[in-house]
Amino acid sequence: MARIGVFICHCGENIGATVDCTKVAETCGKIPGVVHSVDYKYMCSDPGQNMIKDAIREKKLNGVVVAACSPRMHEPTFRRAAAEAGLNPFLCEMANLREHCSWVHEKGDTTTDKAIDLVRILVEKVKRNKPLLPIKVPVTKTALVLGGGIAGIQASLDIANAGHKVILVEREPSIGGHMSQLSETFPTLDCSQCILTPRMVEVAQHPNITLYTYSELESLEGFIGNFKVKIRKKSRSLDEKLCTGCGLCTTKCPNKRIPNEFDAGLGMRPAIYVPFPQAVPNKPVIDKVNCTYYTKGKCKLCEKICPRNAIRYDQPDEIVEAEVGGIVIATGFDVLNSDFFPEYGYGKYKDVVNGFQFERLASASGPTLGEMKRPSDGKTPETVVFIACAGSRDPAKGIEYCSKICCMYTAKHAMLYRHKVHHGKAYVFYMDIRAGGKMYEEFVRRAIEEDGVNYVRGRVSRIYEKNGKLIVMGADTLLGAQPVEIEADMVVLATAGVANDGAEELAQKLHVSYDAYKFFTEAHPKLRPVETNTAGIFLAGACQAPKDIPESVAQASGAASKVAGLFSQDELTREPLIAVVNRTAPPQYSTCVGCFLCQTSCPYQAIEKEEIRTKDGKLIKTVAKVNPGLCQGCGTCVALCRSKSIDIEGYTHNQVYAEVMALLNRSEDNVNI
């Protein structure tokens, strides 16, 4: 038996001035099931809330309708009040008399009548409300971080230091990512390795962090707080426990002429190798494609030389399974393959290099040990041309967006070059200089004014080799597009930053969305920048868009704090307004016939198959089941289900049907509502 209380709020003049609240209260008092109906100046005020609480207690109300402002404003307030008076908060509903009535209509009977209708709708709804308990989902307090670049490292350390377990997965043999390749970093020009390697070591030694290098995510199941992951540990062809990282094997490997990925192809490495001296872990890996043993079936020199007998040619990949509660994606970015500006001759001319290659040339740990020597003949380049926007902001050839970091690193490159070759000439061709950021503009000015880098505003149309020089043909748009021709010894292309390869596959494994450029998309471009649309999965660093180091680190810490927040409770509570597949008495068990046409309608893959079996395990029928952890309560499946076997709490068939009926079904007044 319904005992509904109706509370009409004047909201001062806001409602009272246009709606006859007293009349509304009187009329609604007559609605069957309403046992208490009053109006008051400010329902959200303490006295107002107390009115509600008292009425709930004294009149033993089992439903409350507060007719005031928008529920998007005060629903939480009044539901809390109801709860404090011992009424299940979900038995309290709001009628929107302010935004949807008094503020948008003139004073008068029709407006008051509308107000009455709006209350009536909610009264009929609340009669059919059920007490609901918030859903509690257990949380596995272990985080999975994908990608061991600076973003992944930062996120892992922050989460680990917050006292939670972290599993860090890195595709390459060592963590460190692109940052470990950089020479110096803008705008301070401090050495990248010097600030990064301590963090790498910290990760390796942190008791809360389990590190899987040379590994990739195999599969992901489950939902926020309760993910199940499989990780593929690719075979290093060596027993990591035995290996001490002495490096003897790498010195003895006969095949030493393999382009070194870490040096962006400028240096060479053996088939069994450690990517770089400060690698974490400092254990070699055999590159099976180039290893003589794997290709020709003989050699085994490394095995013979290894003092610990750690080499294992037949070592298989290993699949590690783990349960995690939250996931941070930090898989980083890549640079656009430049061979698609044939006119720049990248790949054709040795001395046309991309940003990463220049970083290696400038780096003390690089193939030239930091001395400025050009790849072709090792001579010191007297003139170097830097080309910004080599692919970025170029719909015709490259990509439409701005890669953001190039302006800064190009300025840095030019500066580094001038610092190393004092008499050398540096030219930068640019479209615009985008140096937004703390100390950034100042940095670029320094390059121009103190280090005498020549900035030419214009694009380069062609580069060609002519008796040992690279002829760079461009235009200076600030001098009326006057043609510029520069005889350079080396050209550096600031190639566009793009999504890492495999980003798409990963996104599909994780059920997170990605944009046209394969960058992962955040849940909201402004207000939820580190979350994805999939609850419990967060973003950090350049896998979401090109970012510089400070930004990546900031976002990583942001993602980490989201994870820490998620882990701060043993169970996470969610609004219980979710879909449910009905269960009925045997022999039916459920009116669901298991057609599973609803499955594809769910944006969250929340609809699963459930087998109903007899005690002795005989299958009776297979029906749909909504996973309460995944369901976000959109109700698309509810409207789709033919047999009405799915319903959604808070917007049940009974409730919405009653709302429609309450509103109309009064054939006596077809005229003048």
């Binding site: 016939v593 298991g594 057609c595 046409l597 594809t600 789709l640 033919r642 047999s643 068939h653 009974n654």
Partner: protein
Amino acid sequence: MKELREKARDLLKNKDVQVVIGYGDGTGGKPRAIFIRDPKNADRLIFNVKCEQNLAVYLMKHEVKKLGRPAIIATIPVVRSIIQLAAENQIAEGGVVILAVTPDGKLSEIKTLKDAETFVASNPPYTRPEDIEKLEQIEKMTVEERWTYWLDELSRCFKCYACRSGCPMCYCERCTIECNQPQWVSPASHHLGNVEWHIIRAMHIAGRCVNCGECARACPLDIPINLLTLKVSEDIRKNFGLTAGMSATLEYALSTFKTDDKEEFIR
């Protein structure tokens, strides 16, 4: 026909199937569905042009399911119904032996869904020209004319639900019609109830109907209700390029989408 009977006999003899669903002589020269369980009775099977009932409906009935693994005499629409039912997880791979008969009387035994798909692919969907004609005729009418036309037609409906029982796609254990909490459709067969029922039916069959026309044949009052489902199927084919009963892994038109689905009425 001889071939058909032998096939049925063998299947039953070798215990490949426990029952053969087919056509037999009915009253007034009209064929009716028969269920052969004893090889001796295989000769009671017949097949002729009059045999157009969609037998797939029986695959969904508990009474038939009880009998064991069935073989079914299937015209093209029946094969498509079976494929659609498989797409809706109602028929398992190998759950039924299909004795498909093409319009030119060619018999072929289909054991797997893959083969069934190839069969329908090579025997494309067919809609009776008279239905198409009628459809276009109605589309040409003015809204008012259509309204009076359908009211007149549907006024004869007395909610016997023969259309539902005849349709292989209406296998829900509880039809919306039987929901009374809330009462979505009033059970009385007044105009409103009739209109609502037939809209619901068309919407629930949408994207799943193979246009076998059984609903209309089943209707004791000859209401051309198959036109409603035909119209919906046509819309879905035109708008989303989807046809039911062609693939056992078919995407269901109303639970999938394209971000660029074209419509011109949402403003």
